[in-house]
Symmetry: C2
Subunit: 415 residues, 2 copies
Amino acid sequence: MAQINQNYRKLAAGYLFPEIARRSKSYLEAHPGTHLHRLGIGNTTEALPPAIIEGLREQVERLASNATYSGYGDEQGSLPLREALVSYYKAWGVNLQADEFFISDGAKADAANIQSLFVEDSIVAIQDPAYPVYVDSNVIAGRSPSFDHSRGYYDKFVYLQGLEEEGFVPSVPTEKVDLIYLCNPNNPTGAVANHEQLKGFVTYALKHKAVIIYDAAYSEYISDATLPKSIYEIEGAQQCAIEINSFSKFAGFTGVRLGWTIVPHALVSEESEVGELHKMWYRRQCTFFNGASNIAQAGGLAALTPEGLVQSRATVAYYMENARIIREGLLGLNLKVYGGDNAPYLWVKTPLGLSSWQFFDKLLNECQVIATPGSGFGPAGESFIRFSAFGHRENIVAAMQSIKDNLRLENQNER
Amino acid sequence: MAQINQNYRKLAAGYLFPEIARRSKSYLEAHPGTHLHRLGIGNTTEALPPAIIEGLREQVERLASNATYSGYGDEQGSLPLREALVSYYKAWGVNLQADEFFISDGAKADAANIQSLFVEDSIVAIQDPAYPVYVDSNVIAGRSPSFDHSRGYYDKFVYLQGLEEEGFVPSVPTEKVDLIYLCNPNNPTGAVANHEQLKGFVTYALKHKAVIIYDAAYSEYISDATLPKSIYEIEGAQQCAIEINSFSKFAGFTGVRLGWTIVPHALVSEESEVGELHKMWYRRQCTFFNGASNIAQAGGLAALTPEGLVQSRATVAYYMENARIIREGLLGLNLKVYGGDNAPYLWVKTPLGLSSWQFFDKLLNECQVIATPGSGFGPAGESFIRFSAFGHRENIVAAMQSIKDNLRLENQNER
């Protein structure tokens, strides 16, 4: 008599993006023919640059001939790609070995699966607000007994709030925790920790033998050269941190699918041997994964060539110009705006005392603009909304024009 | 203080394919310049057919232009691809809905992850011999307390032996189990269950509210039209079975990565509501996965066109001709050979009372041929070796010639 994993039933209903899709759809049904300006989901929109396209094309042609066809590759990814990543990290002074990299089909899967390495009763610390995957994967794995509807929190998890007055970078936990998820630059707030702040987390982790799961998927959006791009820029981090990253937002691979995770040989946890966590992840990937697509890997390798890097960074700069336009537009309406300088997300305080979803509805109804309600990322996100800078320039400009022309900020009683 | 998931330490050492690689490498180091005939790993070798290459090319070009670029797709895969799979199943009388299909990056990941839907104390039944992923994923998930070195079995798992005298198709469990993994056609034995045998499993599962995890990755190799290609050809299977399949062996996507899993709405387990398991897998995939590569999906769609099907099946026929050549060669040496008629694997009884690894070494040393020791798939695989029919024709012919010329079957005392 097979019985279901009851942890799934603990997951709070109403996944954020499906709910946005539902409300957008009903608006369109009620207002047929309307054009919606979508600044919600963080999805890339610009074509892949020529160097990457060429890399993809070449791999497709290799698959077309018996002489160059290849089947299964190594589960941990192709060696040339891992070596290119070693060089990529060297550029900002981080020394890693090729076999410390595990190529995957994207950061989301790794961020969700990495908890498999740790015992079920681990105490998990998660930023609030945060990308939902860290929370949900740990709920499914049984690390929370229940969802507390009154607080909006899962019991037993430790939430690290990114407070407005602290620029949304959380402080280290005040209690003992085992796993600490850090998304830096943060999705959704766009906040980026400086060297000193990251050092605080590394010091905490080394002291308490905690492990930091560091999601750096937006690291290429950091333009301030004084800010670290990798947790391994902090001394001691290789003993206490796993870093996850992705070609999605950097090189436009949201649909192509490619990412990587670094599990250093030096990483240890309580009672583990040096090297054991590295070997466990290798075993986990060999068992649960069969390697990323060789076409995607060829594209990733092309993205890491000098030409590919220049072209990919030009696309990043394009999105960051979008961010500047959004920021200026919103500041012009006297809204409070955070992020958007070293991250493709802008975190905006809702006006008029509105809740996140109320402001979502107001933007939708008055301006036909979709943004992402901050409360969908956790209770501390309430009264904020996230704007994404991913989009074609003309759409970003049109969205901001619509907000400027149509958003009614004077009337507090309209709802 | 992070602590590791101790279940990883329960995994028996010496993963099969790495050990084969190690022995091959040391042979080559001792005999530099030797050519090895590799009939071991089941990895495709033939170029992708033109219709699929064209599908891949077109998607790469779509990514090169802003007008046709696309980023994140649905986690469950593109609707046209799922609809094409609906039609694919209709061809042998199986009616499924598009939203019962979940596109993935391959059968291995799904076969390893599907156990997440069920409680940790589920009793798992696994074929012996079997592809190692079913066992290892359940060990990591904590479903066995320990490995019994004397028996070569994980405690608490129920092993269903495919006995030689029964053609290696196992009988239904004699005790109550919760999950039943069936790989059909079987890897490694090449055995294929007939309608009556599969009906036995479905009847058992319905009676005991067990769930069958049916891995059909080799279904396209079934040439005998009387044998079922899908578990859903058996009445009642939609209430008790999940089917996993792949483009890897059918369309040569071992490196491109694409598969699918079917979780029918009708599937139930003890205490689950109708539709709940379907929704759970949807939630699981939305949380742990971000969709298969859109390039791979375009290739999959091309593989399912009439042209793509004809061309892919021609490659399957090519491998099956290899299987025929291997079979005839081995039968000519009076070896006992199973499988290879409806599966790309031949399951060969070791001669001279040799163990699987002894015969592996003998083939390597005398014939420079690599096959896969049967004992690596479970204790019941001892005294068998697996030949894979994946390879270029000339290599298969050369390997068989080398076996014919060099294998010494008369001398029992050589080792």
